[in-house]
Amino acid sequence: MTDRLGFGMRPEANGAAEDEPQAPPPLPPDASVDLARERAESQVDDVLDALDTELVGLAPVKTRIREIAALLLIDRVRARFGIDSGRPNLHMSFTGSPGTGKTTVAVRLAELLHRLGYIRRGHLVSVTRDDLVGQYVGHTAPKTKEVLKRAMGGVLFIDEAYYLYRAENERDYGQEAIEILLQVMENQRDDLVVVLAGYKDRMDSFFSSNPGMSSRIAHHIDFPDYEPVELEAIGRLMMEREGYRLSDDAEPVFRDYLERRRVQPRFANARSVRNAIERARLRHANRLLATGAPVDRTALTTLHADDFLSSRVFTP
């Protein structure tokens, strides 16, 4: 480095650059901080409230996310007193049946961590095995790194993460992706949060064959299946969002439908509810067209019992 000053475009070396905010000096030990105000300023309540109102059930998940939010908030206040507490490890694993809201929660989580200043951008990059693992020797590392680079500053969500490891084929390239992932999870904890998601039993066997992965993940969150009441509430929320409502005679039918669907194979919780409503919409539209009578607003927005009763679920 030379001592040339590039045409005086830079302030003198001893003068601090004006545009950079100086870190405020640490608070004196006897000061006190208003936590309520700190909380309001971070706007985390918006996200937490949205989580509460827009997602039905999932009590253990919400509790854990509230705890994480509280921890990060307190860490911020501690930092103002000059207490260095190190960065908490927030890599997570979400386990649960299909359709229990793992992806939805991950999106909210990214937003929450961004507001609390834990990650810089707050975007979510959702990938599966295909995006990480290559097809030939030497293809995996650049592919995985590319995904990791895209996810930096945000949350990397790996859906069905257990496919990365194939026990039956030891030359599978998935192992290479896992190793790169582990390295980045350890060394660049400041830059991204990794969330692994999948079904409970298969994730458990994935973790038991990759103990390094398990120990680097601090939060194992289990998503419980929805109760019938919760499924109904989810259905109502979805219909409300799409401008539909149930007629009085349709309500018990919808409840009955969910009860029956729940015990059938390939039930995917909220996703099945969504599909049921989609199909009811189709039948509703078809019914209106078939009658050919003029329709009013009520007819356009009301789903009748027939729209559900003609479902395959009710035919034994």
Binding site: M1, T2, R4, G6, F7, M9, R10, R120, R121, H123, P142, K145, E146, L148, K149, R150, M152, G153, G154, Q188, D190, D191, L192
Partner: protein, 140 residues
Amino acid sequence: MRITQGTFSYLPDLTDEDITKQVAYVLDRGWPCSIEFTDDPHPRNSYWEMWGLPMFDLKDPAGVLLEINECRKTYPGHYIRLNAYDARYGRQTTALSFIVQRPAEEPGFRLDRTEVADRRVQYRTHPYALDRPQGERYAR
């Protein structure tokens, strides 16, 4: 002699924080970054070797810094520059390009004179670094 190519080259070398801020600016504009390296300092050497492919869809400078550091590790004695490409219609060109690493010792250039017909003189700049084979031009 310190070579001056690209933006910021008359300033003292950028620190990693400076680079991070520049990259953040670049990514906010939506320009993809790419990294190139060379050990031929001649000013007319405009095609440098690519370090990997251009990086699309990045949101955060950390990913670019990761690649810069990988490249620095592999080529500790080379020039490395970062290019940002603006793909918008009407521009479609490199929007920002600056050096992020240079060799510790830069021996500079000499001027060769060649006398040709009619007592005319032709000049040629010759980088001293080019006297040595590629890959061994700068101390590591």
